[in-house]
């Protein structure tokens, strides 16, 4: 098993449970040594994908390649893959030292002390070697789970919602810690999470999954700045999506939105359909009094009325109604609180943004796909 090594590739990987297709022929390439995140809502197939790589679920079809070696037929104990389980699954009858040493001992390695000590100091738990897992805090248990997996120097380390059980502050701290450890050991990390912020903070590359398929794969910035589906646009951050119709094509695509002309760079139009959703992130929009023309140079502009203004601390959020737009196409604007805003609720305003911050998606897609708030309502 030591000779297996290289990039992790999932080839037409599929998993069915009865009639339900949990993972629908996905193809993903995860370069060796990268920090990769599978991001999606619960039930999107991300955990099933992870469990297939670990060997805990058998694929219905497809291959799992590490380098050129298909590991799909191998039993979990024969794979150069280790897992940090959700809720850790530490062995309660063994102390921390023996938990960490478990994998080495099962592979018949006699002298484990140097490696165990090194691993415990990597996760800063040297002082806890002889404690039982139940005597540790959640964050400490999480680090034991990481050490127990990492000590085996797997080709791929799988992390199943590893920070889900921690409180917010500790989660932030562990995100940075995990990133540091990954950089230090250089092992491929595949991280499953439903938390977009967690994925964006840590991962080099993210695959956004929905209903068993990969919606979009790219760097966090790629996905956020240039979403290719409404699901990605809504699931990562927030987006304004407006009904538009393409009226001219060129380097810039001209789109009419309820009579207003909007420009979008051709590379940011994800569809050849002429009916589109015109998208723009709320923080990319400048808001000013109607009479203020300071942002006219940006290129895309609408005029409307502020319906609501709410002060959030770091920013102020505006909901702007544009005459002629549908009821549910109000535009949300986030303004950084540098100075006190000149705009109040009820004011007539001019909102402006750069065409380079605009994107267009196929209008056949559901405008609310991936919108966590809309779906729970």
């Amino acid at each position: 098993m030591d000779q297996i090594g290289g990039d992790l590739r999932l080839v037409s990987l599929r998993k069915e449970f009865g009639d339900f297709v949990a993972v629908d022929d996905i193809d993903i390439l995860i370069p060796k040594g990268s920090f990769f995140a599978l991001l999606g809502p619960s039930g999107c197939g991300k955990t099933t994908t992870l469990r297939m790589v670990a060997g805990l679920e058998l694929p219905t079809a497809g291959q799992i390649l590490i380098g050129d070696h298909d590991i799909a037929p191998l039993k979990p104990y024969n794979r150069p893959v280790n897992t940090v389980f959700q809720s850790y699954a530490l062995f309660p009858h063994l102390d921390i030292y023996e938990n960490v040493a478990f994998g080495l001992r099962r592979r018949g390695i006699k002298d484990v002390s140097a490696q165990v000590d090194a691993m415990l100091s990597l996760v800063e738990l040297d002082a806890f070697a002889r404690r039982k897992p139940s005597q540790l805090s959640g964050g400490q248990q999480q680090r034991v789970a990481l050490a127990r997996a990492l000590i085996n120097r797997p080709e791929v380390l799988l992390l199943d919602e590893p920070l889900g059980a921690l409180d917010l502050k500790l989660r932030r701290q562990m995100q940075l810690e995990l990133k540091r450890i990954q950089t230090e050991v250089g092992i491929t990390f595949v991280h499953v999470t439903h938390d977009q912020e967690e994925a964006m903070t840590m991962a080099d590359t993210i695959a956004v999954m929905n209903q068993g398929k990969v919606e979009q794969l790219g760097s966090p910035m790629d996905l956020y700045e240039n979403p290719r589906t409404t699901f990605v646009a809504n699931f990562l951050g927030q987006s304004n999506l407006l009904t538009g119709e393409v009226v001219e094509r060129g380097d810039f695509v001209g789109v009419k939105v309820w009579g207003n002309q909007i420009k979008i760079p051709a590379s940011r139009v994800a569809t050849s359909n002429s009916k589109v959703w015109v998208g723009v992130r709320p923080e990319k929009i400048y808001i000013s009094a109607e009479s203020n023309h300071a942002h006219d140079h940006l290129g895309n502009q609408l005029v409307g009325t502020v319906l609501e203004r709410s002060y959030i601390g770091v920013s102020t959020q505006f909901i702007v109604e544009i005459p002629g737009f549908l009821d549910d196409e109000k535009i949300i604007v986030f303004e950084q609180n540098v100075d006190a805003s000149e705009v109040m609720a009820g004011d007539r305003v001019r909102i402006s943004w750069d065409p380079a911050h605009t994107f267009a998606l196929d209008a056949k897609q559901d405008a609310y796909a991936g919108d966590v708030l809309a779906e729970t309502e």
Binding site: G55, L56, P76, Y77, A89, F91, H93, F102, R106, N152
Partner: protein, 283 residues
């Protein structure tokens, strides 16, 4: 504020009273009986003369029955463990929606009396039963060979009767084992059997200890199985000796001394076992 210090004592009172009347008093009585002059009888009455010789007589005369009881009980306990462990494992971890039905089946024998079920075995193992004929036909048992009235029949009866007492504690401790721990063991290079030995078995030890105690202790003192399934030779257990001494021979001092020796022996055996098993979680 009223002083509520007496509340715990009030709550303890019914139990303490129960123990005092139904446990301590008979124990004291039994202890006194074991020291009576053995030459007395129920009709003529007993004289209390602190006759420690009752204990010496009990041990010197009946040590083979003591030894046999503990050997039978030990064999029955090991057999019950071997049968019950896979059963409890399957019910706890593999049975899915059948779990409750299977548990009811484990407990089902309790719906019929212990005595009746043991009597039923005399028919199954009887000399003219089809089971015995079958064993004779395939030459496992010689022509005219018996099962009833042999040590085998008694041990089998003990194993059968105490199996649920082994199964239930094992089930309880196995059910608490998180299946993800088994997955984690597999993920960390354990083949299925190694994963079982290193993770599941240690975690189920409290159930093993509880089950063996609940089987061994009553099996050591049992007399029904030996009486109904045993014969005249090599099957008499200490329970039968005590039973006869009390109810047939009216030898109360001897019977009481035997009872105390049995109790003491079980306490010593159990204490040694629990200490060796080293289950601090049990206490």
């Amino acid at each position: 504020m009223t002083n509520k210090k007496w509340v715990p004592y009030l709550l303890l009172a019914p139990g303490a009273l129960w123990l005092a009347i139904f446990f301590l008093t008979p124990m004291f009585n039994l202890g006194a009986t074991s020291l009576y002059d053995p030459s007395g009888s129920l009709e003529t009455g007993y004289v209390m003369n602190g006759h420690v010789g009752n204990y010496v007589d009990a041990l010197s005369e009946y040590w083979p029955q003591f030894l046999r009881s503990f050997i039978f009980a030990a064999i029955a306990t090991v057999l019950a463990l071997v049968i019950a462990y896979p059963l409890a494992y399957a019910i706890a971890l593999k049975s899915g929606k059948w779990k409750n039905i299977l548990l009811v089946l484990v407990i089902a024998p309790f719906f019929t009396s212990f005595l009746l079920r043991t009597l039923a075995w005399t028919a199954i193992l009887g000399d003219n039963s089809s089971f015995v004929h079958f064993l004779q036909n395939i030459h496992i048992l010689p022509e005219g060979g018996r099962i009833l009235a042999t040590p085998f029949a008694v041990v089998m009866g003990l194993t059968y009767n105490f199996l649920p007492f082994m199964t239930l504690p094992l089930f309880t401790s196995l059910e608490k084992v998180d299946p993800r721990l088994i997955e984690a063991a597999g993920d960390l290079y354990s083949k299925p059997f190694t994963g079982f030995r290193r993770v599941v078995l240690p975690l189920s030890m409290p159930g093993v200890v509880a089950g063996t105690l609940l089987t061994f202790i009553p099996a050591s003192g049992d007399y029904i199985n030996a009486q109904l399934l045993g014969g005249i030779k090599n099957t008499t257990m200490i329970g039968n000796v005590i039973d006869r001494a009390f109810l047939e021979r009216g030898a109360y001092p001897t019977a009481a001394a035997l009872s105390f020796v049995l109790m003491a022996a079980i306490v010593i055996l159990v204490a040694t076992y629990v200490k060796r098993a080293g289950t601090e979680e049990l206490v």
